[in-house]
Symmetry: none
Subunit: 408 residues, 2 copies
Amino acid sequence: MKMILIISDGIGDAPISKLQSKTPLEYGSFPSLDRLAREGITGIMDPLRPGIPAGSDTAHISLLGENPYSVYKGRGFLEALGVGLELEDGDIGFRVNFATLKNGIVIDRRAGRAPDGIHELADEINNSITLDVPFLFKEATGTRAALVLKGDGLSSNISDSDPHSTDVRPLEVKPLDSSREAAFTAELINDFISKTHMLLNDHKINSKRIGQDMLPSNYLLVRGAGVRPPVLTLKERYGISAACIAATALIRGVAKCYGFDILEVEGMTGEYNTNEENKAKATIKALDSYDFVFMHFKPTDTASHDGDPLMKIKMLKKLDRIVGIILDKLSPDDVIIALTGDHSSPCSIKDHSGEPVPVALWGGRVRIDDVSCFDERICAKGGLGRINATDIIPMLLNQANRIKKFGA
Amino acid sequence: MKMILIISDGIGDAPISKLQSKTPLEYGSFPSLDRLAREGITGIMDPLRPGIPAGSDTAHISLLGENPYSVYKGRGFLEALGVGLELEDGDIGFRVNFATLKNGIVIDRRAGRAPDGIHELADEINNSITLDVPFLFKEATGTRAALVLKGDGLSSNISDSDPHSTDVRPLEVKPLDSSREAAFTAELINDFISKTHMLLNDHKINSKRIGQDMLPSNYLLVRGAGVRPPVLTLKERYGISAACIAATALIRGVAKCYGFDILEVEGMTGEYNTNEENKAKATIKALDSYDFVFMHFKPTDTASHDGDPLMKIKMLKKLDRIVGIILDKLSPDDVIIALTGDHSSPCSIKDHSGEPVPVALWGGRVRIDDVSCFDERICAKGGLGRINATDIIPMLLNQANRIKKFGA
């Protein structure tokens, strides 16, 4: 018996007046999502606690089994792990943006969102800059990057340099406690920022960008210092092998902490254009080699952040096709599937919110309920009631008869 | 976006045979409560945990956001704060009853419930009694009062003098641990009781009471030692301003701990005769000055303690009028309202019980469900499922978009 966890990012929504006060899930037609609900058991799920909006990092820590209020240690480590940097315990990870600084003022936090030349600039930073400790730097999607400080005597308890707004000075990074480690790490990051600024500002790639009427990517904004969250891998905790199919660096990072192998899929972009058929096929194929496959679908959340309910419906149709392909290929006797989201993201507020998400379990010996639609309101009447994201992994393992009794 | 929390004390009940096995909420007709349910989302809520009867103190600590199993430190401090005494951290608060002692035996724990002269007796106690530490004493409703011991070296870990029954001797107050602080505090209270007994017994007010065939209020029963519960105010935790409209001292005390301003309302008594129209209007008006308004309605619980379901229905009609006035004046685009109770109080047992209470949320972007009645059994089918009282504040803040994401 194999297990599949399908997460549609930001899937939950709120009633939208121009959709006749329905949510995108309620308004659109999604025959395969509905089939999964009809042939399965449904409910609603809180990523963290009722009313608390979850970040993607804390939501996935929770979905993969641990209480993030106990183990979450910042996003930077997860992001750095996700872009493929090698991290060891004790390393500090950071999120980085290439930005544009003019006369000491941040005029664009993302350097016009133009990634041109970012790869070469990242190489140059790795080759030319030296700090008092070893470091790793790597570009990610767009103008994003990740930084890792390695070695002893470091602390993640330092502030961000990112002012989170424009037309202001970047912030000086400061220690957030009185420890020697925090002071040392803050100093290292300030040193890194000033050295890279000198390097980037004079770099020929930026002369070229300016020549092409682009903003120079001449300054690094650093934020989200984090260390490894102390979680057990699924292998350590449950003795199962697990694979992750996800385009988003952060999600890959969380999955790596839980010991998932990260699978590459052609055409998987994490964007609106992602190849859903390849993702579905890769998920099915991965069951040959793994006990547990976690497939993450990003663009539903992107549509919410863009405030575009019709695009969200379009992306839900992509998700529907993924689920359709999977259900057509697999038998409920051989697999247990959970479909849910990591949090709600109402298009009306263009951000994460604290309402629960719908959840459905299909396969195994689930007590099929009378819910025959997959959406926020109908699933609230389902046989699972209201559960927490940390319940998902034990529930899948239970259906697969792969979880140990507690007690005797 | 503003927030309103309406608590009807002891609102939950159990089926009553002479009401055709319905609860008071089910039996009566409450059009505005039903409107709130019909246009909102409903559920059931546990004040503490399923099956555990909550005190009014622990239930309100929970409703206003913190887990009372972690932060509850006794009722006395809350009661003393609620009657208007000024307390500092480290002070110990006590509940006090004026009682009648005859030949060393408690013959009435409430001195015949006659408050005549109590105010003057309280003044006399403050003016004439001295202890080894400073103290404050104040009469409350009926023959109740509150006492505060101030200064260093005190402990709330001492026993009650109140025997909780009549025709027995009052109890000696004893330290409940071996600390010097507990021994010292117990000694202070025994000293206070014996000094006040001498003062009260010989007082002309009590001669007058006896002359009028009333029981003398000649002895103080002291109980419920407590210190400040370590809770953050709503301003500290969420950056919001908050006002409380409540007649009951204990509720005011809890609200003060959470940083609420206490508003006075003409005709608000906390009794059957309370002026519901003024309470409703005050709630609406408070929204001009505050982000969050908490309105507490006591008499539903009083009717339960009196074992009087018809009176409870009458009081629910008062609540219905309050809700009606509020809904008529406000738009769901501007406000999010939660209506619920602090605990169930079945008329059949005349006390608090461990069943959940119904809850409804109205306004904001709530996922309106198909429940169109506000009562214990129908709300159990609502879209919120079964939640905990500590979820209420985050859920209101979430709908008002005033809560921070956890994670990134």
